[in-house]
């Protein structure tokens, strides 16, 4: 009896200590702050994914911010590797998350939905010196959720069509242009797909990826989508006749005797579309502008064009972006706002886009790039056709994407027909939607 009682007391103590560890963290942080020499100095932390080496501008921006704000001490803590989401989530749970953090457009809704992101409207209203109209409207709109502004843009990457000039020249073909339809792309891809003497494909015309973003742009150009406008219904969209017909055509590009694209498995074993493209094994792909960094450092001679339009002349694009958010539980939101403003502001945009690494999110600076950079022009033009993927219109978005990906996997591995797989996926989505 006595032993049990002791054990019980000890375990209860342990749990108390544990819970104190997690919930009391913010208080201890405050204590250490007041203990520093400068009583007034506010400590802020902010984080991005990637390592310090690739975040040169952020390091520099931090230094400059600390210099111009003597009352604030900012620490920059990037998270390398692919553990960013997990790290951010667990630190939010423990109440130790940074005051300012970076979120990718696909997760914008999720974090707002969880209530961990602070709306910026009241800060923006009170601050007349900061005019958000200097940003690209699309980018600002993306950070606008349920009537409030939650994110200010860091950088962005529109999707566009990338083509390998050498392979087009070798085939004596004209480069893709803005009048191309998906049928034109398909026909060109057929000519650009070459086999070796054993009948094995040594050069693919196009990469019909399983990644949902290019597929979304393809579906939009075909006048259809995997969800309704507000992302609450899949039945009649994900499995509509239009979607099924379009997806049958899309899948046929990477299957059968006439295939012009690697299957996702092929692409994976061949090192991914980027490296296939750089080694002249792939003639065309639809992907985000981030690929430019690698392409510019390889020997590949490439060009960009608009993503093809559909038979009816419709065209769709997606802008991938990253935005700064303030932690809703931050102790120093006003200071955090100052930091967000600085990190997304004009100076930061200029600094980041200096070497052409990223496109500036501000209107005037982007116009400059468009005038001088031939390869960036079609990419920037794609912004005019940008639509929001389902993850950016609803917190149900990830449900749609997850079920759609599952259906694609089944189709590509010959486990199901396009129609059956999409019917099942639509049913699954609708049964799981709660809002």
């Amino acid at each position: 009896m006595k032993k049990w009682a002791i054990l019980l007391v000890v375990t209860m103590m342990a749990t108390l200590v544990l819970s104190a560890c997690s919930s009391g963290s913010s208080e201890t942080k405050n204590e250490s702050q007041s203990g520093t020499a400068d009583q007034e100095k506010v400590q802020l932390k902010f984080t991005v994914w990637g390592d310090v080496a690739s975040a040169g501008p952020e390091v520099k921006l931090t230094e400059e911010f600390n210099k111009s704000h003597p009352n604030i001490e900012v620490k920059f803590e990037p998270v390398p590797g692919d553990g960013y989401g997990t790290k951010l989530t667990t630190s939010l749970a423990a109440g130790q998350a940074p005051d300012v953090f970076l979120i990718g457009e696909g997760d914008y809704y999720k974090y707002v939905d969880k209530g961990v992101v602070e709306p910026l409207d009241s800060y923006l209203e009170a601050d007349k010196s900061f005019d958000t109209s200097m940003f690209q409207k699309d980018l600002l709109d993306m950070g606008h959720i349920n009537g409030k502004t939650y994110y200010l843009p860091k950088d962005f990457n529109p999707l566009s069509l990338w083509y390998n000039k050498k392979l087009f020249d070798a085939a004596g073909m004209e480069y893709p242009n803005e009048n191309w339809t998906w049928d034109d792309l398909n026909a060109a891809a057929k000519k650009l797909t070459l086999k070796d003497d054993k009948g094995k494909i040594k050069q693919f015309g196009f990469n019909a990826t399983k990644w949902e973003y290019p597929i979304f742009t393809y579906l939009w150009s075909n006048g259809t989508s995997i969800s309704n406008e507000d992302g609450t219904k899949a039945e009649g969209f994900m499995n509509s006749d239009k979607t099924i017909a379009a997806m049958e055509k899309y899948v046929a590009m990477s299957k059968g005797a006439d295939k012009v694209s690697p299957t996702p498995q092929d692409a994976e074993t061949l090192g991914g579309d980027g490296s296939m493209f750089m080694t002249d094994k792939l003639a065309m792909m639809v992907t985000g502008r981030w690929v430019k960094y690698d392409l510019d450092r390889s020997k590949v001679d490439y060009g960009t064009s608009l993503i093809p339009k559909g038979a009816d002349g419709e065209r769709g694009g997606i802008i991938a972006a990253a935005g700064w958010a303030i932690n809703a539980n931050s102790k120093h939101k006003q200071e955090a706002y100052e930091l967000v403003k600085w990190l997304s502001g004009k100076e930061a945009q200029v600094l980041r886009s200096e070497k052409g690494l990223v496109l500036p999110a501000t209107v005037n600076e982007l116009e400059e790039v468009k005038k001088t950079e031939v390869k960036d022009k079609p990419i920037i033009d794609m912004m005019a056709f940008a639509k929001k993927p389902v993850t950016m219109v609803s917190s149900n978005g990830s449900l749609f994407v997850e079920e759609f990906n599952k259906a694609m996997e089944k189709i590509l591995l010959d486990q199901s027909s396009v129609k059956d797989a999409l019917n099942e996926a639509a049913k699954n989505v609708d049964s799981k939607i709660t809002k």
Partner: protein, 299 residues
């Protein structure tokens, strides 16, 4: 009296660091996860949002198709890999137990893979198993076989992981080896004088004498088999078509991808129960087949 209590105190003080570690890092989290398994918690919104839901998690788990898929994958893996690894380990250990020149070198070779971190091993095997450039399919093509896309084909992915696991059985081999070295030579001599051949000696002398080692390795193997995670996480991430969705991977996805901490905690306690049952079965049957030297009064 006073003296005794003082030494008692000293004893407790000595174990205190370990005991605190156990409380903080093992018992505490276990109790927390037990509480969570009856709750709903998405982790992001902090500790205040834990919501008690009774048995909901368990009810939902038993309705979840993926739960059964992951159970199936894990059971197939354990059922095939545990006996397979034990037999191969024992055979290798017996080879390494021969008294030949340079044996230490071979022992080193067989043990070395278990020192390399699982993630590095996995990355290497991704390359070996690559259908296009991988050394395995290159070797197969030399004898006229066109190897499959090992990790990308739902028919082969699980088998590929099972076969790959053989590479990492160094630990088991070492334990068998030490077991084999503990078998007294005179038993073999006596058996040989009685006319026992090599097979008879193996089954009537070696196996009974090392049965405690087999017992230990079997239990560790079962636990390891059910908790398989790293390689699948790195190499296949459960795919293709969930053909390598191991139980622990399913659990991880629930906890850190969809942030259903309560659900994941419930899953972990179910796994705990499963492993406990299998371990108990082995322990219960052990009196029938495990022989302890000098434990003669029982017979």
């Amino acid at each position: 009296m006073k003296h005794k209590s003082r030494s008692e105190k000293a004893g407790y003080l000595f174990i205190l660091p370990w005991f605190l570690g156990l409380l903080l890092f093992t018992i505490g989290p276990m109790i927390f996860s037990l509480i969570l398994s009856f709750s709903k918690w998405d982790i992001i919104t902090g500790i205040g949002s834990i919501e008690f839901v009774g048995l909901d998690n368990f009810v939902n788990i038993f309705k979840d198709e993926l739960f059964y898929t992951s159970l199936k994958v894990t059971f197939i893996f354990a059922l095939v890999s545990v006996p397979l690894y034990q037999i191969i380990s024992l055979l290798v250990a017996m080879m390494l137990n021969m008294r030949t020149k340079g044996m230490n070198f071979f022992r080193l070779i067989f043990f070395m893979p278990s020192v390399i971190p699982a993630v590095a091993v996995s990355m290497m095997w991704i390359m070996i198993l690559n259908p296009e450039y991988g050394i395995l399919n290159k070797a197969l093509s030399l004898v006229g076989i066109e190897g499959p896309a090992w990790l990308q084909d739902p028919k082969y992915a699980l088998s590929a992981l099972i076969v790959m696991g053989i590479w990492g059985i160094g630990n088991t081999i070492i334990i068998y080896l030490s077991g084999l070295q503990g078998v007294p030579e005179e038993l073999y001599e006596a058996a040989q004088l009685d006319g026992a051949g090599i097979v008879r000696r193996f089954f009537s002398v070696t196996i009974p004498m090392i049965s405690p080692t087999i017992f230990f390795n079997l239990i560790m193997g079962i636990i390891g088999g059910f908790q398989y995670f790293t390689q699948a996480f790195v190499m296949t991430n459960g795919g293709p078509l969930n053909s390598t969705l191991f139980y622990n991977l399913f659990l991880y996805n629930k906890a850190f991808k969809t942030y259903e901490m309560g659900y994941a905690s419930a899953l972990s306690w179910i796994l705990f129960a499963i492993i406990l049952i299998f371990t108990l079965i082995v322990i219960r049957t052990s009196s029938a087949w495990v022989y302890y030297n000098g434990d003669d009064d029982k017979d």
